[in-house]
């Protein structure tokens, strides 16, 4: 699996003030797989995820050291173009945050920014991505309605479609189903499984069952350190580390 890493993290440290919240993280993330990051709350898993597309840049008092290579290119290189890096990755946050515009404009937002102007092209992108997220039939008659009128589950799928519209290579999910009802959750989970044919997917989750259902590999993070990394079944059924064992059994939460 390390032969063809899509994302390669090397000696990554994150400091908040004088506190080190991620400690010497090194890991290779394989191409076109679903990887779950699990761990107790406050262990740094969301911070780790945000390092992938440099969303920590604007957080005051946060310093990042080390390398994150995406397709062999270090994104923390001072010369790296941040918008270009972010375009490669779609982010799905904890709660859906539809942009304050119509359903259509939400999906078209990214492509427009990146230079797609023609109505025909945009129409096609919007339709493709809404179909990919199974939203097309539900919204095709009201594409110009404000996105906030959709249900929470629909909004989350819209946000996914919005992310896919910029043709990313990687999808980052930050507990993306935690605000959703069970039905929407399973729709999103199924989408992840379907999408891994084309994308590398990294999910942060604190639900072990979810990690088991959707992911190929699991990373267990505890107190800002990677404790264990391995294929899902192996890590969950036969953990090598004592801490992982305790977490999987539910002793640490």
């Amino acid at each position: 699996m390390t032969n063809n890493p899509h994302i390669s993290i090397q000696h990554l440290n994150v400091f908040a003030g004088d506190q080190r919240i991620l400690k010497d993280i090194s890991i290779n993330i394989p191409n076109k797989k679903v990887i779950s990051i699990i761990g107790p709350s406050g262990c740094g898993k969301t911070t780790l995820l945000k390092c992938f597309n440099r969303l920590l840049d604007d957080t005051p008092d946060i310093k990042v050291t080390g390398k994150v290579l995406v397709d062999g290119e270090n994104i923390y290189d001072p010369k790296a173009e941040v918008t270009h890096i972010r375009k490669k990755m779609g982010l799905l946050s904890q709660r859906p945050y539809p942009l304050p515009m119509s359903i259509y404009d939400n999906v078209a937002y990214g492509p427009r920014i990146h230079g797609t102007r023609k109505k025909v092209d945009l129409d096609k992108i919007v339709e493709t991505q809404l179909k990919a997220t199974g939203l097309w039939n539900e919204v095709k008659d009201r594409l110009n309605a404000p996105a906030t009128r959709l249900s929470i589950g629909q909004q989350q799928r819209l946000c996914l479609a919005r992310g896919l519209a910029v043709e990313p290579e990687i999808i980052l999910g930050d507990e993306s189903t935690s605000a959703l009802d069970p039905v929407s959750t399973s729709i999103i989970e199924d989408l992840f499984i379907k999408l891994k044919e084309q994308y590398t997917i990294v999910l942060v989750t604190h639900i072990l069952r979810q990690a088991r259902r959707v992911s190929d590999y699991i990373i267990f993070v505890y107190m800002g350190k990677i404790i264990e990394f391995g294929p899902t079944e192996e890590l969950l059924l036969n953990p090598q580390e004592e801490l992982t064992k305790e977490y999987v059994k539910g002793f640490i939460s």
């Binding site: 173009e81 918008t83 270009h84 920014i113």
Partner: protein
């Protein structure tokens, strides 16, 4: 890509420039006042009342206006406090703080805050004519009180809201009546009351339009409420209108005095409110 990057940088620079202009306008104003005011500044300015021929450039100072302004601002703030403390307490303790009536009252006071001082002045003048009061210290204080009530109420209201609900509940659950609880809360927010006083005083001392009709003007320091009183802003305004260069210079010096007073008050209040917010955390 390059175009977007250029656009980003262009607007970033534009924003920085705008910020420099907006924040810098403070320095521009204070700088201008200091630059023009200091040459005409003298000990006489703040220690003497206008002598004979003061308005054609002979000796004297603006002590009458300084004292008058302090009287008006102090009187109005005091009177305003007497009215607004009960109002703020009523809104938060008796009306429960967060319901339609209390929020409606908040909007009403915000609206009152927006009414320009010239309207308060005109209204105050109308009242004075109605009751047969002549332009005097009393009239000025009354008009300015109207002006500062909304400031006092809203500031006190916000301060009271920062008192933890647990404290109020604790006092209530010991069997205190709401009035007794209010006394506890008042003790708690004492620094907040000072902030409110300073804010109100700062606004009151600088306002012209409300005292223009109501306080009158006099070269003497008022010794009773029924005498007309000079105020500093009005003194600046009158002196600036003079064709005599020396009198104009004194206007600048008076402006300098007023600016310094107001700056001290503003800085003091912001230091106080910072300390207050630290206390609450």
């Amino acid at each position: 890509m390059i175009r977007r990057k250029l656009e980003e940088n262009f607007f970033r620079i534009l924003m920085a420039l705008a910020t420099i202009l907006v924040a810098g306008s403070f320095f521009l104003i204070v700088g201008t006042i200091f630059y023009k005011g200091i040459p005409s500044m003298s000990w006489d300015m703040i220690s003497k009342v206008p002598g004979g021929g003061f308005y054609i450039g002979k000796e004297g100072g603006v002590l009458n206006a300084i004292i008058g302004s302090l009287y008006v601002a102090g009187g109005a703030t005091g009177l305003g406090l007497l009215i607004s403390i009960p109002v703020a307490i009523y809104m938060n303790m008796y009306l429960g703080g967060k319901n339609i009536i209390a929020n409606g009252l908040r909007i009403a006071f915000d609206v009152l805050f927006g009414i320009p001082s010239i309207v308060y002045g005109a209204f105050g003048f109308f009242i004075m004519v109605y009751f047969g009061i002549r332009a005097s210290l009393l009239g000025g204080i009354l008009a300015v009180t109207l002006l500062v009530i909304p400031i006092l109420v809203r500031t006190l209201d916000e301060v009271i809201q920062t008192v933890p609900k647990e404290l109020r509940d604790a006092s209530l659950s010991l069997g205190a009546t709401r009035w007794e609880m209010a006394k506890v809360v008042l003790r708690q927010i004492r620094p907040g009351i000072f902030t409110a006083i300073l804010l109100s005083f700062g606004r009151a001392i600088g306002d012209v339009a409300s005292v223009l009709f109501t306080a009158g003007f006099s070269d003497n320091i008022p010794t009773s409420l029924h005498q007309p009183a000079a105020t500093l802003p009005l003194a600046i305004f009158f002196q600036l209108g003079s064709p005599v260069a020396e009198v104009q210079g004194r206007a600048y010096a008076s402006a300098l005095i007023l600016t310094i007073i107001v700056l001290i008050i503003t800085i003091l209040s912001s230091v106080l409110s910072k300390r207050l917010s630290k206390n609450i955390k």
